[in-house]
């Protein structure tokens, strides 16, 4: 009874969220609804007894993928009204994908078999948890697929770096050991000033004396504009 109630609760919220993801006007709201949908899908996985999938959904999809979506939505300089204009043009493609997904769902629910000889999946049984059943299979029986996963992740890592990382000749990189070796005396100077005398009257001074860039190292020193150490403020 409780199982049914929780199932219908999660399923209803999930369907409502999915509708809001598509129809929300503000794309940031759409991503937030997507996150709520992920949580409810995790709840459905829990009810189905797949607690590993549920936790992975929360950790990977909510924790990382949804944040990436938010990044993309908030970063890209896209005019979302312009995007909406293409709706008519892309509607057939979207409808085709929807029909394909619907067909897959019908096959699954109706237990239609396209390929003969495929066995029914067997439940691991109540005495062994889902995660443990996966662990017994992934690293031994499916070791090649597992290593292929590692290679896919490696390719993703290198691809992301190659695509997005570029050297900026004017950028100054942090040198952490230099920053740690810095002493208060290097940066701070106690001064006795006359009452009423401003920095302008005293000729001005710059803090810290060698500038904040002292602990950062330029990648290419020649590309930097020459710094004048005797530069005075208020001049």
């Amino acid at each position: 009874m409780i199982t049914q109630i929780t199932f219908y609760l999660f399923a209803t919220i999930l369907v409502l969220c999915a509708g809001m993801v598509v129809s929300a006007r503000n794309p940031v709201h759409a991503v937030l609804f997507l996150i709520l949908g992920f949580f409810n899908a995790a709840g459905l996985f829990l009810i189905a007894g797949a607690e590993f999938l549920a936790m992975i959904l929360v950790i990977v999809y909510v924790g990382a993928v949804a944040v990436l979506f938010l990044f993309v939505v908030m970063m890209l300089d896209v005019n979302f009204n312009q995007l909406r204009e293409g709706l008519q043009r892309y509607a057939p493609v979207g409808a085709a994908i929807g029909v394909a997904l619907l067909a897959e769902l019908i096959f699954t629910v109706g237990r239609l078999k396209l390929v003969p000889g495929v066995q029914e999946p067997t439940l691991p049984g109540p005495q062994i948890s889902n995660t443990e059943a996966l662990g017994r299979l992934i690293y031994t029986d499916y070791v090649l697929l597992f290593q292929a996963c590692g290679l896919v992740l490696l390719v993703a890592m290198i691809g992301a770096i190659v695509l997005t990382l570029r050297d900026r000749p004017s950028a100054r990189r942090q040198n952490i050991s230099l920053q740690h070796a810095r002493l208060p005396a290097d940066t701070m100077e106690m001064m006795q000033l006359e009452v009423g005398a401003g920095t302008d009257a005293l000729g001005g001074f710059i803090r810290p004396r060698d500038g904040y860039g002292a602990t950062a190292e330029p990648i290419d020193a020649r590309a930097l504009p020459a710094r004048r150490s005797d530069e005075k403020l208020g001049a």
Binding site: I47, V67, F71, L112, L153, A156, M157, L165, A216
Partner: protein, 138 residues
């Protein structure tokens, strides 16, 4: 294409397991209820008890005493995106460690070394990104 007549009917044993499983998550439900109650109390409390006299000037966008200069929706450095992608990759790597840690006693030395091979491949990528300076900030 054959349509098998069997309809999904969970056995009584399966149903019993489900009840146990859901009751195992009961503490989480308690946490969720408490969290919802506390946040609703904070929001509702300030809504009810706070003095609210909004007017146009108070509600307008404010940026250090000026009107907002431009839209917040602008191009960021792609570097933030790189950090997020690298985070996802290592997140996935960690996700593979959980079932391995649980079943390590059963899968023996072979399972152990297969995970070490996986980690080795990703360590190659890690060294690459380190040497390439993708983790440095400028």
């Amino acid at each position: 294409m054959a349509l098998s007549p069997r309809v999904a009917t969970p056995s009584s044993e399966f149903r019993h397991t489900m009840q146990n499983l859901l009751s195992a998550y009961f503490p989480i439900a308690v946490f969720i209820v408490i969290a919802a109650g506390v946040s609703a109390a904070m929001l509702g409390g300030s809504l009810l008890a706070g003095r609210q006299k909004p007017y146009a000037e108070k509600n307008s966008a404010y940026e250090c005493g000026f009107d907002a200069f431009d839209d917040a929706r602008r191009r960021f450095d792609v570097r933030f995106y790189l950090v997020a992608i690298l985070f996802i990759i290592f997140d996935l790597e960690v996700a593979f460690l959980f079932p391995w840690a649980i079943s390590l006693g059963r899968i023996g030395l072979f399972g152990f070394w297969s995970m070490l091979g996986f980690l080795g491949v990703l360590t190659v990528g890690f060294i690459y990104e380190w040497r390439k300076g993708a983790l440095d900030w400028e």
